[in-house]
């Protein structure tokens, strides 16, 4: 009986393997359908997007790589009529001028000093930005006190060390861009902290001065501040005192950046819970002890993304010193692209492309860093 039912059973004992889902539900085809062609509007948008990619990406790749010229010693390397083919970026020009773009007219036999400056700067920046670095307090002292002195002696020269004096009129290119940006950050951060504390102060006159300074500087364009530093700084000093041509825009940049930094730091100070202030006071700390040991370490930590973003803006703004006659990277490109030895149709674009790559790498890198810190700081809020 039992055996009979078993033999008679016409229901399968084994399950059938599931058929793969149709291509239009899963897999790349379905993804394309879902995300790119889900409706008429979406299809039009996709086509517009593809069209934009089509008109921008291939010409850029063609210009940067396929038609580019990599070797050569003068303009003949990059002239289409000499080469007999369309010419894209003339990288030979960049390679030929690279020392000028990095050091400006800094004497060739002394350029090792600039290299050491770059290394020292990299150490300081790395120390400051790496949040788990050992002895970060020492790092801050190095970056804000020791490094500026070393850098000044290295770049400007120090006769008692046997370092020959190099006038700032010879500095140029990336060196000046980095110097302006570094001076901006080294001076603007402490100044910004002081201004932010002043703006949050209970003392009305101190608060008033801080507010006037911050709002005034933030209300005018950097270029006017630079013009002011250029034309009015010499006027305000006693007769006979001359200010170095490079120092004037440095003062302007530091003043300008400190006002923006102050607002970032103020954001951090305001974000501190009141309990932190009250806790510090109940421990008997005075104002400066409270700020230095309790409030600022926490406040500055939470505004690191803001500081880095301000610094990105500052880094981009350093290009404006070119307008008041300082040989930064932009100015060296402007000067070298009209060199008759390299007169070729794509020289202008190549020069700007080089500068664009330089600025993009730095700014994009910093913005990635700032986003990573932001994510890390927000880690405690994830559930």
């Amino acid at each position: 009986m039992n055996a009979a039912t078993e033999t008679l059973r016409f229901v399968r004992a084994q399950p059938v393997d599931a058929a793969p889902p149709p291509n239009l539900v899963r897999g790349p085809l379905a993804w394309i359908r879902e995300n790119l062609f889900s409706g008429p509007l979406n299809t039009i948008l996709t086509l517009i997007g593809l069209f934009l990619i089509y008109v921008t990406v291939p010409p850029i790749i063609k210009f940067f790589f396929i038609d580019a010229v990599w070797t050569g010693t003068n303009r003949d390397a990059c002239r289409p009529e000499v080469l007999g083919r369309p010419v894209g970026a003339c990288w030979a020009y960049i390679i030929d001028k690279i020392n000028y773009f990095i050091y400006g007219s800094y004497p060739a036999q002394l350029r090792w000093r600039v290299d050491i400056f770059f290394v020292l700067l990299a150490i300081g920046v790395g120390w400051m930005l790496w949040l788990e670095a050992p002895k970060r307090t020492l790092g801050a002292i190095y970056f804000f006190v020791i490094f500026p002195v070393l850098a000044y002696m290295l770049l400007n020269g120090a006769s008692w060390l046997g370092l020959e004096h190099v006038p700032t009129s010879l500095w140029g290119g990336i060196l000046v861009t980095i110097v302006v940006a570094t001076v901006g950050i080294v001076f603007s951060l402490p100044l910004g902290v002081v201004l932010a504390l002043g703006r949050r102060s209970r003392l009305p006159i101190i608060r008033m001065f801080s507010v006037i300074f911050i709002e005034f500087v933030r209300g005018v364009p950097l270029i006017t501040v630079l013009f002011m530093a250029n034309t009015m700084l010499p006027l305000f000093l006693p007769e006979g005192v001359t200010v170095d041509r490079l120092l004037r825009p440095l003062v302007g940049v530091a003043i300008f950046a400190s006002a923006y930094m102050a607002e970032v730091v103020r954001g951090g100070l305001q974000a501190m819970p009141k309990g932190q202030y009250e806790g510090a006071m109940s421990l008997g700390l005075n104002y400066w002890q409270m700020m230095v040991f309790i409030i600022l370490p926490q406040a500055l930590r939470i505004v690191i993304p803001g500081i880095v973003n301000t610094f990105i803006g500052l880094f981009k703004d350093t290009t404006l010193v070119a307008i008041v006659g300082i040989f930064d990277l932009i100015r060296t490109i402007e000067a070298s692209r009209v060199d008759p030895a390299w007169a070729a149709p794509t020289i202008n674009t190549t020069g700007y492309a080089f500068a664009a790559i330089f600025y993009f790498i730095f700014c994009w890198g910093m913005s990635r860093y700032s986003m990573a810190v932001e994510r890390r700081l927000a880690a405690g809020q994830h559930r």
């Binding site: 995300n35 934009l52 003392l203 101190i206 001065f209 070119a322």
Partner: protein, 399 residues
Amino acid sequence: MPTIAQQAPARASLLYDPKLRAVVYQVVLTLVVVFLVYTAATNAVANLRAARIASGFGFLSTSSGFDVNQSFIPYSAATSTYGDAFLVGLLNTLVVSAIGIFFATILGFIVGIARLSKNWIVAKVAMVYVEVIRNLPLLLQLLFWYVAVLTSLPGPRQSLNAGDLLFLNQRGLYVPKPILADNAWLIPFMFVVGIVGTIAFRIWAKRQQEETGRQYPVGLTALALILGVPALVWAVLALIGGRPVGFDIPRLQGFNFRGGMQLYPEFVALLLGLVTYTAGFIAEVVRAGILAVSKGQTEAASALGLRAGQTLRLVVVPQAMRVIIPPLTSQYLNLTKNSSLAVAIGYPDLVQVFMGTVLNQTGQAVEVVAITMAVYLTISLVTSAIMNIYNRRVAIVER
């Protein structure tokens, strides 16, 4: 025996009195500032006297003797004063800022919304645009547009031609120039009438909806009133023979263009640079604003039975705007301030004309710098004052 409360408090040394300290700090700071300002002022006076530079604002009414290529008011080197040059520069700054703000807003909103699109390609294209634009210095972008794009264009005879209406060559962009007839005022007038009519209709429609529940197509009516009425008037006027606005279309004659309106390459480059740059920042502002409206709001709106369009119009946009408007205004201010980079490519804005040429000719650095800064400062402060009023109005009222 006196209780503790009755005991005179232990007098701390005067050195540790916080009130006295506060006064001392502030007095010292004030003295330092006054001293600095005084020294700077006396030095400046001495230096100016030594350099034989006049002071005061009298130079504004002396003849300028230099020419400016783009001017919206009558200006000539022979008859105009430095004061006129100031006005020319100020107007040029305001014009490029206003046009720039208009286009940057449109482009910025498009890119910002595109970044949030569910369409992968569109979102990525917008993302690449924003990343590239925001990470390159504006000055570099301006030089690129000016040197590498506009001045490398072909000459007038090989102009890039858009429908025989727009011509782009190395001398600039040639566009049709509107020529207003006597009755042209009717068009903007009808436009204003249309706006007033729309507002009235909207109020009426809202009251009707509240009383009877019936809805009226406000959007379509607004379109008809604001655009349709002026178009109708235009058509009627054109039919009876008096065309209100004619266009002078640029034509190539010999080696140059005649007629039309020539936009100088400096202006076009500055506008292109400012618009594309600021749009990148506005896009991020818009994206942040839309993301700030929590998903629950959209869901609640759907639960109430609102359609997608209504959800967007009545729920998402009003809340997003609250987040968007303040940073958007600061981007507008940035654009206005950034227009001062015009000096790098030679567009005659306030900084180029006044802080550049006038300062060089007169040498009156203090006055010129003060006036220029005052202009930008006024724009900034007025805008932020308006923003504060707006913020107070739209701020969420907390209980």
